[in-house]
Subunit: 140 residues, 2 copies
DNA sequence: TTAATTGCGTTATGCTATAACGTGTGCCAT
DNA sequence: ATGGCACACGTTATAGCATAACGCAATTAA
């Protein structure tokens, strides 16, 4: 009923935010999203942050901690670890030149970290893996 | 000549910041460090950030991206991957209840991520791995 | 209907980080 | 020595990221 793909039962604001992120090549900060949505009636940061909270909770948007920015999920539907969309730990490769982000899941890494945690009695809630560097195109 | 261990050739400000971090059980934000150092003449955030930049560059302080906070390096001197103090990729387990941070290096994880990068022509500059959750003591 | 839940809009505030300017000091090549 | 350079430092101002707290409206459950 509205523009691109969006999960059912998203509210208007959530849909707007998700669509903006989906169309973006690079990650976007909350304030950049806000600026893109002023024409649609957005006036304050909280409108964006509240939508982002919900979208990340649904697992269709990810927060990049090292960038204070957000990306739409680019998961290949590999029903591997905890993937459906309740996806397990995911990693990001972030190009510091062009801004391109690659999202991937590595079974081995996930399990290694899980093993380490179990061995120490540590109960993981959320794991962040972000590789910053230069993508093939930008690495000269 | 001054309190705890500090690498040679640190400036006065760098030493102050490093010592505060070394004595702290939990990670500290730049502004928390600033407050701790007001008695020593610190007045502005930049004094802290400049010291932190140098200390992280030296590898004796780490930034926790998911917390916007800093910790003194707690590396066991395992001369494993790129460890001496030009240490390779390191991971952190962060307890969201008590704030305790465990720093560790996992050879396998490091190499897996390196392999992924090589396979895609991606040139890593800095890798962040942070597991947030509950430590053994706090996990009930 | 009533109460609980959830989303929404707004204002104000707080936390994190850097820009830009000028000063001082040590070091080295001239 | 003297000029140039590199580096740390101090200060003020500003930019960028995130949440508190209020009140209202719509939806759902009991
Ligand atoms: Zn994803
Ligand atoms: Zn690139
Ligand atoms: Zn370390
Ligand atoms: Zn704990």
């Amino acid at each position: 009923m509205n523009a691109p793909v969006s999960s059912p039962s998203l509210t208007k604001n959530q849909t707007l935010v998700f669509d903006v992120l989906s169309r973006s090549e690079a990650p976007m900060s909350a304030y950049t999203i806000l600026d893109k949505l002023r024409d649609h009636g957005f006036r304050a940061p909280l409108q964006v942050y509240r939508a982002l909270d919900k979208l990340t909770e649904l697992g269709i948007v990810h927060r990049l901690e090292s960038l204070n920015a957000f990306v739409a999920c680019a998961h290949r539907e590999s029903t591997c670890c905890g993937a459906g969309h309740g996806h397990g730990t995911v990693a990001f490769a972030i190009c510091e030149s062009c801004g391109q982000v690659s999202e991937f899941h590595d079974h081995e890494v996930d399990h290694r970290l899980g093993d380490w945690a179990r061995g120490r009695g540590f109960r993981p809630a959320k794991t962040t893996i972000e590789i910053r560097g230069l993508c093939r195109g930008c690495a000269a």
